[in-house]
Symmetry: C2
Amino acid sequence: MMLVVPEIIRKKRDGEKLSVDEIGGLIRSYIAGDIPDYQISALLMAIYFRGLDAEETGELTRAMMCSGELLTFDYLPESKVDKHSTGGVGDKTSLVIAPAVAACGLKVPMISGRGLGFTGGTLDKLEAIPGFQVRLDTHSIRQLIEKHGLALVGQTDNLVPADKRLYALRDVTATVESIPLIVASIMSKKLAEGIDALVLDVKTGHGAFMKTFDRARALAEALVDTGRQMGKRMAALITNMDQPLGNKVGNALEVEEVLAILRGEGPADLIELCRLLSAYMLWLGRAVPTIEEGKDRYDRVIASGQALRKFRDLVSAQGGDPRVVDQPELLPRAGQSVYILSPAAGYVASIPAGVIGWAAVLLGAGRMTVQSAIDPAAGIIFFKKVGDSIEKGERLCELRFNSGISIEDVENSIRQAIQISPHPPLKGALVLDTIE
Amino acid sequence: MMLVVPEIIRKKRDGEKLSVDEIGGLIRSYIAGDIPDYQISALLMAIYFRGLDAEETGELTRAMMCSGELLTFDYLPESKVDKHSTGGVGDKTSLVIAPAVAACGLKVPMISGRGLGFTGGTLDKLEAIPGFQVRLDTHSIRQLIEKHGLALVGQTDNLVPADKRLYALRDVTATVESIPLIVASIMSKKLAEGIDALVLDVKTGHGAFMKTFDRARALAEALVDTGRQMGKRMAALITNMDQPLGNKVGNALEVEEVLAILRGEGPADLIELCRLLSAYMLWLGRAVPTIEEGKDRYDRVIASGQALRKFRDLVSAQGGDPRVVDQPELLPRAGQSVYILSPAAGYVASIPAGVIGWAAVLLGAGRMTVQSAIDPAAGIIFFKKVGDSIEKGERLCELRFNSGISIEDVENSIRQAIQISPHPPLKGALVLDTIE
């Protein structure tokens, strides 16, 4: 098929539907170097304005997915399931869920990314464990799945090259915030993992990419629809990201909190979400007939220590120091610490997750740009969450950091952002909606 | 000023207004090679959807205009005036108007373009005159204006380089059809000529870029507004381009028709438009107090032979063979000829200009792509125009061409396009509206 690229751009510009051949041909030719960036960026902007319908989004996803290597574990009888979060602050659920679900007998080929801006990344958290390797080749990933039932790794170089190219272009042409383009980016990578089922955790609120519930719901529906078009079992939770998830933000600190959760301890919001997401994965993976029984299975592998053992085995198998699991004090620890105290008695009314995420970046826990180095030890520990009562002068949170940080700026930004109210705030639900 | 290009693209994408510094900085940085094509093409698509207001359009025009050399004839006391047409089929008015207005004592520094697709170009018509040179440097253009009062030339390499870059990018990214971008492209080039006043001939209809009157009127208003922002005297005519202008289409054939008009002969529609455009130029150039007196001045320089003499002098000054002016048979003449006869008696109801323009391209008179060579002798002569009565078997038109043309295809496309009706058609006006 001969592609006339300006005519394809014009069609989308004028709100017409692109054909399967046009979308597939565009992606193949772009990756082959036969279409220049400037035509693709114009098309991306036309898509920003005109959108893609469900069929076009599915075809874009398929074409991107097929631009590189595809993993498959079809030769294993167990269901292959995964979870994807659209990104938040303090969201360390992947590190709990993957071993818990694998401990229940399913296969979890979880390919994750790094943090950028105010959102953290699973790979950065894992690398806080001394020795842990996230860059594995396909053969090693396959061995981990076969032997341990899970892998917590980064994208291989051959996986979905079209997304790497397109994302870099979107980032510099103001075309990131387009639901069909977000869907194709997420789903092309997840579907290339060779999974049967996927649970989505679509975050909404101050510390999320989707600031409003309506946008989050629209994204969740499009993600679920695209996965189902390809025969995958799909579900989505829309969850609140107005305040950070759990009590700890920062890579080593979050691993500490993961270990607490795997021992059956830890903060209530994080327990609730890990339990629910695991239950959905078990249900979609047909390990249990109902969500409720999924929660029970999760509780049992936590109580029995099987989930913790699975995590220890994985750390060891991916080159990390397994002693960390029982001695979290072996994790990197920051040299300096500052407490932020409450300026008044009352109730914590707001801990804006976006501000906290950026404060963590300033402490060294995150990245301004993809090139930035991060400090695994840096981060923030919260002693109070929204709705908790607090005395004047009581500890709100602790900042952990190493030298070279202008700590007053970070302190000021957090002090200005956290609100203390004389009255208890209306506390919203953590899970706002579900798509099953 | 530090430009954050993705943020500027986002602003325009979200319908916000760009500042003078942002627009100026973008164009300067783009031409300097500091902004890649893929960011500019995304911005152009955002402009396609969101538009530019009058101030932004003016600033884009100014920034593009200032990207290269600016001509000026400020040291000459006479008004410097020009005419620009948005392009049509059989529109050879420039070759009549420029010498007529120069014969009235004004200066006409007319920089024109080549034909592309179904529209013809002034430079191609001029090059049908043996020896005629259109590629002149600034010094030579200056000498022509000083000595003869007119120049009929192509763009110099240094004139408005930003438009060359932007137009090439728009052409391959489906961002040509945006009124503010069309305005900036036209006006940056015209204003770089050093003119005081400009008459616009905005074509609408089947053989025009603007297919509807409303779009043509919107373009005309934006062009006039942008010129006035820069202190220029401006007027626009909106003229019908449903059928070709005059009786001849094709480069040497159109020069023949120009010579007829300059001798006071030729078809009525072409006389009407040349007379009116000249009158507007004379009026804007303050050579006459009213349009009506402008028409009289035009009539006098035609009747006296001064306009023809001015054209002969110009041909000679630009290297062409001046004998052509009195012996049109010295123009290139095609070796083959086919007549198309009327299939019925009645009235000519329609000669769709777009089809005729493409038929002329197929005969060799125009270009499919900017690289194509053209045959100056090829073209079409009409013996009847819309509204004329015709007998069955009477000649409708003649096709002139050289060997290597699949003439049956051209004949068929014209036969199918021209409509003969038993009743006289309602004849529309040539000039549909004016902006003064």
